[in-house]
Amino acid sequence: MDVRSQISMVFHLDKCIGCHTCSVACKNIWTDRKGAEYMWWNNVETKPGTGYPGKWEDQDIYKGGWEKDGDGIRLKGAGKPKSLTNIFHNPHMPVIDDYYEPFTFKYLDLIESSAGDDQPTARPISMITGEPMDIKMGPNWDDDLSGSPDYARNDPNFKNLTDAEQEAMFELERMAFFYLPRICNHCLNPACVASCPSGAIYKRGEDGVVLINQDVCRGWRMCVTACPYKKTYYNWNTGKSEKCILCYPRIEAGLAPACMHSCVGRIRYLGVMLYDADQIEAVASADEADVVQRQMDMILDPFDPEVIAAAKTNGVADSTIDSAQNSPTYKFVKIWNMALPLHPEFRTLPMLFYVPPLLPVVATVSEADHSERGGELHDIAKHWPDSWLYDTTTKELFGTIDDSRFPLEYMASLFSAGDTVAVADRLKKLMAVRLHRRLVTVGDVAKETVDAALADTNLTPLLADDIYYLTSLAKFDDRFVIPAAHREQAIEMIEFTGDVKGNTGFGFKVGSATRGA
């Protein structure tokens, strides 16, 4: 057992309001630079939709991730022979139009234009060429189902849905969508790391953050092809590739990453999980149906004395083990079994988990006779004598999981490699908790219904309250349990701190690089 620690994330999609605050926080900190304008290390997509870059989930186009090769796996679009033969032209890379051409507006024209017959306008300017341009697309062009025929209808996750099911999803009365915020998954079996011909990408030993060494990167861009989530980006100005660094400078200082810190819906959770690195290859090579469960199984119980002992021999700090025991992600993923990884079939073993969105059918429309209501109402009252009843009773809510607004096949295509049972389990838990809280706070649900729902999902009222707490009431320190970085130990590996002992204090003024002499 090779126990290692991994900082993992849980995004609670039931809470995401799609405000893009996370994206903006990230952009302002990390990618507001020349060559990085088009990058959104954090982006929020509307589902159904084609996302950013367009159709990134379709690996027939982009050839990302791993594919089964006999008993093992191999990279779909990269790897030694493929990288060598395609080293001067990587044939499956996204082009800038797959992302979007970044633009700004010439705002100064609004106030500096000379007087004329027409209102001055701020023309759009390309942030790549600096020339006026026609805006063709943006990073969230299909937000809230806009342009559905072009975007939502081409969602690669529809491949397991029948035409009738797809049509039903786009009926005006039944149309539904949810938001999918995405950052780098900091995978356990990262395809980007495996594909890099320069060896510039690495997974940090202490917390599993995947980073690109900018000094080593030679800009071959194999990682751009290899990452099935398209979360490495090529900076055309520096000639190097970049990706989400999980705000490691903030994490090392005990702060949550900017996207998580700024999250309006408080959907994001971050914490340590311990896992068995010996199993990575076997789990990544497992049958597609087993990948999710086996990934869950390789995450270890941080309370198990055996695991703790193995972690300690591996140099995992006590503070990290402590963090793992308090980790909100461990609760969501392992204890409560409510979260699933995004597209596990890519076999990169992503360590960002999603609580799927419930999207319940909260009302039904049925035929009813309204004609006699006309007599009850005043003459000037508007009433509809048609025979439809819009019924919002919650009695039947729990039973509608299998019949929810999003077909389970769609959710399963996103989160469980097609396993609808795994998705239904999570959704039922969400619904059970919701019903339980409805009973507690409103009381208009039958107790039998709630009990049945809790029993069906192996929850107790106490457990449901715990889930409710972490879902709805959790404070900052509940949502982000960040292990100490132990920089003091890290620095001792590099230099002897005794050298500077006694060099500071009263009466001394020693220069430093930042302060000067």
Partner: protein, 284 residues
Amino acid sequence: MGRPRAPKPSSLGRPFALAVLLASIPSQAQAQSAGEDVFRTTCAACHTTGADRLVGPGLEGINDRRDREWLIAFITTPDQVIAGGDSIATRLLAEYIVPMPNLGTTRAQAEAVLDYIRGAASDAPSPAQEEAPPATEEQILLGQALFQGHTRLTNGGPTCNSCHDVINDAVIGGGILATELTTVFTRLGGAGVRAIIGSPPFPVMQKAYEDRPLTEDEVAGLVAFLERADAEHALHQPRDYGIKLFGFGVVGAALLLGLYSLAWSGRKRGSVNQEIFDRQIRST
């Protein structure tokens, strides 16, 4: 015809030229000998003292045909006389094609040589040329090797193809500093070629082979090779493909590109959103 001639002690000594040529009072024999030396080293490559034409005209009776001052001027500075548009010089050039090079002959040497020609004229060999035996294959191969520098010249002289080129399948890439020699045999004849190689009249060549003369065998070999090259030159023209060469290039490029597009036929082409962009209205 570059073979040295025996001096004629009895005839036509002209002491006046020798006063200029030599500081001391010369004897007739000395004068003869000085003129002969000059003729042998400088003139004999292209001229005979008889009536036979080599590269240039035979010089028998030249003293009677031309004005002496004109002769001396032409011998010492032929380039200037020709460039000056002299009518005789122009006519001669038209007849003999190869212009006489300026060999840096002094006036005294010119006079000595003219005197020597006057004396030697009566004694010129019969016009009948000695038939050189046909060159052997070994000689031709030796000449070929020498021309290209595969075999070094015995006395260390520079290889022919450092300056000269011959269009022949045996030679790859000769020099372009000096005349191209493919048809030199036709132009100058065997005797002229042999004479030029044996005792080069051209200043640069003279300087180059001054202390490193070619041996008889080498001269024979080179002459044989040049004769062969001349004879075969019609067969050894590099093939000119003309427009077809361009055609081959185009076809080759098309084949390569076709191969590439076959090998990378599964590549991603353009943007996945191209269809959408194509429908969008542009402002320009």
